[in-house]
């Protein structure tokens, strides 16, 4: 009973955070709302006794990824963003249609799902007996789904390398296609980086 009430509270707060994220004109406020959303999702993980997942949610999403966002936005002069006019007004109907589509998909998937099927046969007692949630989580990640995990990390690595290549190309024309020559003298501003 208490868990259900808490779940409703955190679910409502998550939705408020999500709405705040898309409605704030000040980007830093929007980001803070997004962090707030992540924290509430972590709280829902806590309620489901997925403690490790909850903490990792805070560590990775709220702690690492969003801090980088905040960093980038702080480097830009974001106070000018507030006065900017929305130019793609017609897009909002397309966006609305897509959002409804995604919602229908989610409902269709989750309607056929019961809690036992989502747990993949794990009960709280079983988790307790096999040495806590972290151990069970690690086992299912690195034993049962090792290949998908490695493939996913390789895909992410490819995306990262691709992003770096894109940035390099923008900066200096054809730099991306040239191999980096270590013999070449570094630019003046890099030279005195050494201690």
């Amino acid at each position: 009973m208490v868990e259900k009430i808490l779940f409703v509270i955190f679910a409502v707060l998550t939705i408020i955070g999500g709405l705040g994220t898309v409605t704030r004109r000040n980007i830093v406020h929007g980001l803070l709302f997004l962090v707030f959303t992540f924290l509430n999702v972590a709280a829902i993980f806590f309620l489901s006794q997925a403690y490790f997942l909850a903490v990792v949610q805070i560590l990775v999403y709220a702690g690492a990824i969003m801090v980088l966002f905040v960093f980038v936005i702080m480097f830009l002069n974001l106070r000018t963003f507030q006065q900017q006019e929305q130019t793609h007004r017609r897009q909002r109907w397309v966006a609305l249609g897509l959002a409804v589509l995604v919602l229908v998909e989610f409902v269709a998937i989750f309607a056929g799902m019961t809690f036992t099927s989502a747990r993949a046969g794990f009960s709280p007692d079983m988790v307790e007996q096999s040495g806590g949630f972290t151990r069970v989580f690690a086992w299912s990640l690195f034993e049962r789904t090792l290949l998908p995990l490695e493939v996913a990390s390789a895909v992410l690595l490819v995306a990262m390398v691709g992003a770096i290549l894109l940035v390099k190309k923008e900066k200096g024309g054809d730099v991306a296609t040239q191999a980096w020559d270590p013999e070449e003298a570094p630019p003046a501003n890099v030279r005195d980086e050494e201690v």
Binding site: V28, F71, F75
Partner: protein
Amino acid sequence: MSDAVVQLLFLIIKALLMSLIIVTMVAFIIYFERKFAGFFQSRVGPTYLGPWGSLQSFGDILKLLSKEDLIPEQADRWVFRLAPYLIFVPAFLVMAVLPFGPVGGEPNLFGYRFDYVIANFDSGLVLFLAMGAVAVYGVVLAGWSSNNHFSLLGGLRAGAQMISYELAMGFSLVGVMLMAGSTNLVTIVDYQAGGFWSWLFIPQVVGGLVFFVATLAELNRTPFDLAEAEQELVAGYLTEYSGMRWGLFMFAEYVNLLVVSGIVATLYFGGWRAPLAVLDFIPGPIWLFLKICVLIFIYMWVRWTIFRYRYNQLMSIGWKVLLPLSLANLVVTAVVVNIFGD
């Protein structure tokens, strides 16, 4: 009374007591910091309020409370007000997973089981890292919302520094996790049972040192206090803060010092366990308190002895020295645990 009600009561008592102890300890940590700073610099430090000036911190709190609360006109008012709490709350949360005595086993208090930890939590060590990551927001947003160049530079520096050193910190902690086979702080302390030779600072000496240096940076203390370097940035991200809001930042800084000392004591120096079996009659909380005091003294010793690094030196130490060292420590520990472990 049923066991669940009693445990809930214990929980509330533990949480209140812990907060009270933290607040009192921080007041005296600040006093000792100033006193030690005095000794290290051939001064006397605070002397007026109370015996040897020991009540100075309480006087300071009264002074800060009565000061005017200024918010710059161009500041982002909401974020400016929010920032102190974003540093303050995570620091307190970590104390919940820190064991200060035996956990589990036979009933030990009026026929009920009293666990000497607020939350016996499976991923306590990861929680410590997560809270460290969240605390970055406080610093960065304080710098940004003040709308002041010095503040912004201080916030950026602090953010970059904390993100860089978190990596080395996390990797050095994996060594401890591998050896104890758990991320639960209670289990890690139990692993170190049986005298000081089974404490983890002996096999994990490299990881421990990396962790210690990384925490110096995480705490923004000299030699890594670039974020509030007085000579170049006025007071960094604290420049526009005044009164009790400034006091909250200071307070959080020392709560963090206390928490980090507690974590170092728990991970590498056996937590609440006595160094020798003969000394077991002294209760666990007192051992933990003594270890924390010694570690806090070491942190102060470093702060008032070593000079501040230049910014590029700070970054190259983090990325070129600490990170490879912690990775090497991780690889060696993993191999050794895999070969000789059970």
